[in-house]
């Protein structure tokens, strides 16, 4: 009886998973391995080896990697500082970091467009200070900037979470047994936050790899990521088969990166994504 009740309660979630996750993936797989007339072909998947697509994929991997590393470099020290603060202040600062996420991320990226543009706020300020004007917008650097800005909270939160769960007594014990500050960090803090770091990396790397909106808005149509190629196949060329084929390849990359991270995550204590 109890089991039946539980199964009943999971009904909506099963409907959700089947309708909005499994079915769409099946549809994409079907389109990906068929051509316009519906017969089987691997051409859409092999199409990734075309120089243009390879270039877009490599650029996506590169920008996603750079964004992830930057996020990590910014987040880890920040999480440490946060963790050292009084508990009351901690929650307030975490709140500050989560606050921008209350606003639609498109709006925030559009705001950056205004700030970084040739005649934008940044250049106006530079000019007023007598500094040379910079053209930042519509470059790969601007896209990386947008990604870091957007995905930073996804890196901070899991690292902070894993860090705040390390009990003070563990650190005290290590000190008692003669560890210096550096040893405490290397032998206690770092290993115990690996799971948080790994899930942070996945939460930043995966959306950065598949993003196309940020590169559209901050790249001025000059930065072609694999996500933009797929969008173009769907929206402009009406070639759903090719778009799906490339999506499958991208999914393989996403799954591979997650599997790679997972295999390195031996602690896996719940801060991990899966």
């Amino acid at each position: 009886m109890y089991n039946f009740k539980r199964q009943f309660l999971s009904g909506p979630y099963i409907i959700w998973i089947v309708g909005f996750i499994v079915l769409p993936i099946l549809v994409i797989c079907y389109y990906g391995i068929t051509d316009a007339s519906g017969s089987f072909t691997l051409e859409n998947i092999i199409a990734i080896s075309e120089p243009i697509h390879m270039k877009a994929l490599l650029l996506s991997l590169k920008l996603a990697l750079v964004s992830t590393l930057l996020c990590l470099a910014l987040s880890y020290p920040l999480a440490m500082i946060l963790n050292g603060l009084h508990v009351k202040h901690q929650s307030f600062i975490v709140f500050i970091f989560v606050l921008p996420m209350w606003m639609n991320f498109m709006l925030r990226i559009l705001a950056w467009q205004l700030i970084l543009s040739n005649n934008g706020i940044l250049n106006t300020v530079f000019q007023a200070l007598g500094l040379p004007r910079v053209s930042l917008l519509n470059t790969p650097a601007a896209v990386v900037f947008g990604m870091v800005y957007d995905y930073l909270p996804f890196m901070i939160l899991p690292i902070y979470n894993s860090m705040s769960r390390i009990g003070n007594d563990i650190v005290d014990a290590a000190r008692d047994l003669g560890c210096n500050k550096f040893q405490v960090f290397a032998k206690i803090i770092l290993p115990l936050t690996v799971s948080g770091v790994l899930s942070g990396i996945i939460m930043v790397f995966v959306p950065a790899l598949t993003s196309f909106v940020i590169s559209n808005l901050l790249g001025g149509g000059k930065v072609l990521l694999i996500g933009n190629v797929i969008e173009q196949e769907f929206m402009q060329n009406t070639n759903w088969n090719m778009g799906s084929g490339l999506s499958i390849v991208l999914m393989i990359f996403v799954i591979a990166s997650m599997a790679f991270m997972n295999s390195h995550n031996k602690e896996g204590e719940g801060t991990a994504v899966w």
Binding site: L9, G11, I52, S117, N118, S135, G221, L224, Q232, Q236
Partner: protein
């Protein structure tokens, strides 16, 4: 307590789904219209609903390719569509367009015969369409930074004096028309050699480009973020309304004349209501409302004749006939041509 809430939420979700699926359409007369964004005065829509009692389900899209994808997906049966010349031709060729009974649309008499004539490029026997707005593609430039004489030719877009201050169209055909016309080719060419040459020109130009934009162009130019932009005459007129130091020019090598028209797609279920709607939008007062709202060149002679001289002489909106003679209408490309353009487009973007 928490558990109770989640059970409640789940039940609510399921029942909402059930209600959502179960609702059946009532018998009220409706008309489903698909049109470009910002391309019909909402007040006029309200007027139509009041006058006829027909409820309009009005939907919008951004690019003709997006419209094609949306229409072809087939999840909504549209009664009436408005889009650009070459996509209409493509749909006519695919047998997706119903013949229109122009004789049922009294106010069709208002439409300029010259523009109807020009639409024979995509609708040879005038069986399928009614022109809505038309215009050109040209150069919008900042008069403080660019000399008007320079914009007489597309060459100005390769002048490295304007490096980092040039905006190109972020749409494959509008972008390729520039080098094609500059090289003296047709903008409907599918010749691989000619197109490769055009691609090379665009690649040479890419380091000078600020961005590839479509709808942002007007705002970006008004904000002074760039000095030169390739854009539609309507977008140019919009930008000029925001800023005084902008002007528009159609280069002497020629350009594109585009005609956005209404047609009845095969999915049309209520031809009579669609005709009522078409008649309504051809009527002088409504066409005037839409002209004021959209501010593109209207083919409605009744509206044009009653405009003040200043508007009539606004060369951005109403180009001279000598300019129009120099312009070509887009024709739809065959599949091979489309794929070639798309391939070259990706090559341009990825380099």
């Amino acid at each position: 307590m928490k558990k109770k809430i989640s059970v409640f939420a789940a039940l609510f979700f399921v029942s909402a789904l059930a209600i959502g699926c179960g609702s059946s359409p009532d018998n009220k007369e409706t008309l489903t219209v698909l049109n470009y964004g910002k391309y019909f005065d909402p007040e006029a829509l309200k007027l139509f609903e009041e006058e006829t009692g027909i409820q309009v389900e009005y939907e919008e899209y951004e690019s003709p390719e997006e419209m094609y994808t949306k229409y072809k997906a087939g999840s909504i049966d549209y009664d009436l569509l408005c889009t650009s010349d070459y996509i209409i031709q493509k749909l006519i060729d695919e047998g997706e367009v119903l013949e229109m009974k122009h004789e049922n649309i009294d106010e069709y008499k208002n439409i300029d015969a010259n523009i109807i004539d020009a639409s024979s490029a995509f609708d040879p026997d005038h069986k399928y369409t009614i022109p809505y707005f038309y215009g050109t593609v040209g150069i919008l430039y900042n008069t403080d930074e660019v000399d008007a004489a320079e914009t007489n030719t597309w060459d100005v877009l390769w002048n490295d004096k304007y490096s980092g201050k040039i905006i190109m169209e972020n749409s494959v055909r509008d972008c390729f028309l520039v080098p094609l016309k500059q090289l003296g080719y047709s903008l409907n060419t599918t010749d691989e050699k000619e197109l490769k040459e055009a691609l090379q020109k665009l690649l040479d130009q890419k380091p000078l480009i600020y961005a590839y934009f479509v709808d942002e162009t007007g705002d970006e130019m008004a904000a002074g973020n760039a000095s030169l932009a390739v854009t539609y005459s309507g977008e140019a007129a919009y930008a000029q309304s925001l800023s005084d130091n902008l002007a528009y020019s159609v280069p002497k090598e020629g350009s594109n004349l585009w005609i956005d028209s209404w047609f009845l797609p095969k999915t049309c279920k209520n031809q009579e209501n669609a005709e009522k709607f078409l008649n309504f939008l051809c009527r002088e007062d409504i066409a005037k409302m839409n002209f004021d709202y959209v501010y593109y060149a209207t083919p409605n002679t009744a509206v044009y004749d009653n405009l003040d001289d200043e508007t009539k002489n606004d060369k951005t909106i109403f180009p001279d006939s000598s300019v129009l003679d120099n312009c070509e209408v887009y024709l739809s490309l065959d599949e091979e041509g489309t794929n070639l353009y798309n391939q070259l487009w990706k090559e341009l973007k990825s380099n």
